[in-house]
């Protein structure tokens, strides 16, 4: 399938959301058509007010097999969570 269009990852900011969220991917010949395709595929039901697309090839992802060295060390480091402070009453709820 070497003639297939490149894959694009689509990020959409919802009506009330603050951040763009990854919603899926699609194929398109270029960035502009990717935006249009994203509009047609992912915003048909009024889901978004802003679209980002990025060619999937440009995303560098961490490898699932590195899960151990990457993430497990932080599991035992409870002191990184700010749960050991007494919050003064005047500060209110945080």
């Amino acid at each position: 399938m070497k003639h297939e269009w490149p894959l694009w990852e689509v990020f959409i900011r919802g009506q009330h959301g603050l951040n763009h969220r990854h919603v899926g991917s699609l194929h398109a010949p270029d960035a502009e058509m990717a935006i249009k395709n994203a509009r047609d595929v992912y915003t048909r039901r009024n889901e978004g007010v802003s679209i980002w697309v990025v060619e999937a090839a440009h995303i560098t992802a961490s490898s699932p097999s590195d899960k151990g060295p990457l993430y497990e060390p932080s599991e035992s480091k409870v002191y990184r969570h700010p749960t050991f402070f007494d919050i003064p009453d005047e500060a209110g709820h945080m």
Partner: protein
């Protein structure tokens, strides 16, 4: 011709264009070359059918004979349709469909733009709503025409073939008749001659970018918007579109 009759005819033209083209485009559903285009075409078809409901709904009101948009869409035969010959032309290949779409969209955008400041508030309101949809249609179809025209040798050849095939149907969009003149005098319909020059400017830019050659001919097929003589394709299309009402008259759900 009374203004009321002319207005009814004028609205039928608007509604039949969107109905027939909407149905044509919907024929791609499940058949488009890629999923993204399939959904995009279905969206466009649905936009056009939605516009049809508004135009034919208003046409039924203006006629005052108790006919609904559904009645007008499903219970008329070929000779009652007032759409341009361009929109009833078969889909052909994907390039031909997009060329047809682009030619119509370029006209449609200009027409709706003018109709947003027409003297009839109901027409202006429908046009304003439709214009947003159609602006996107043109954006998409023109970009695809450019991409395919200025693409590979094969895509270029197919787009040029489509343009040569469809160009004779462009002239009908701007051919004036008694209905157009009555509506123009009433302050409803735009000046089609001025509209043509804006259409030409748009299309010239698109075709140049698409490296396509506009046929050097002003010959225009006619008979669609007057209903005088449709091409043979419309009747076949209606047998599909109106199948349910023909097989089960009055069926509802």
């Amino acid at each position: 011709m009374t203004d009321q009759t002319a207005l009814f005819e004028f609205l039928l033209r608007l509604g039949d264009n969107t109905l027939v083209l909407g149905h044509r485009v919907s024929e791609w559903c499940g058949h488009a070359p890629v999923l993204e285009e399939d959904i995009a075409l279905a969206n466009i078809a649905l936009d056009l059918i939605g516009q049809t409901q508004m135009w034919l709904g208003l046409a039924g009101e203006v006629e005052g004979a108790g006919r609904s948009a559904d009645d007008l869409a499903m219970l008329r035969d070929v000779w009652d349709f007032r759409n341009l010959l361009l929109v009833e032309q078969p889909n052909g290949d994907f390039g031909q469909t997009l060329m047809r779409q682009c030619l119509f969209d370029a006209f449609h955008v200009e027409l709706l733009t003018d109709l947003t400041h027409t003297s009839d508030d109901r027409i202006a309101a429908i046009a304003a709503k439709a214009l947003k949809e159609v602006t996107y249609h043109l954006d998409r179809s023109s970009e695809t025409v450019i991409g395919l025209g200025d693409g590979t040798e094969e895509s270029h050849r197919r787009m040029q073939t489509a343009l040569d095939l469809l160009w004779p149907y462009v002239g009908e969009m701007f051919t004036l008749d008694a209905v157009d003149e009555a509506m123009h005098t009433a302050g409803i319909a735009p000046d089609l001659t001025a509209l043509r020059s804006r259409f030409d400017a748009r299309i010239d830019t698109i075709l140049t970018e698409a490296t396509l050659t506009k046929p050097d001919s002003a010959f225009a097929q006619s008979g669609g918007k007057t209903g005088f003589r449709h091409t043979e394709h419309l009747g076949h299309m209606l047998t599909q579109m109106q199948w349910l009402q023909r097989a089960y008259p009055g069926a509802t759900w």
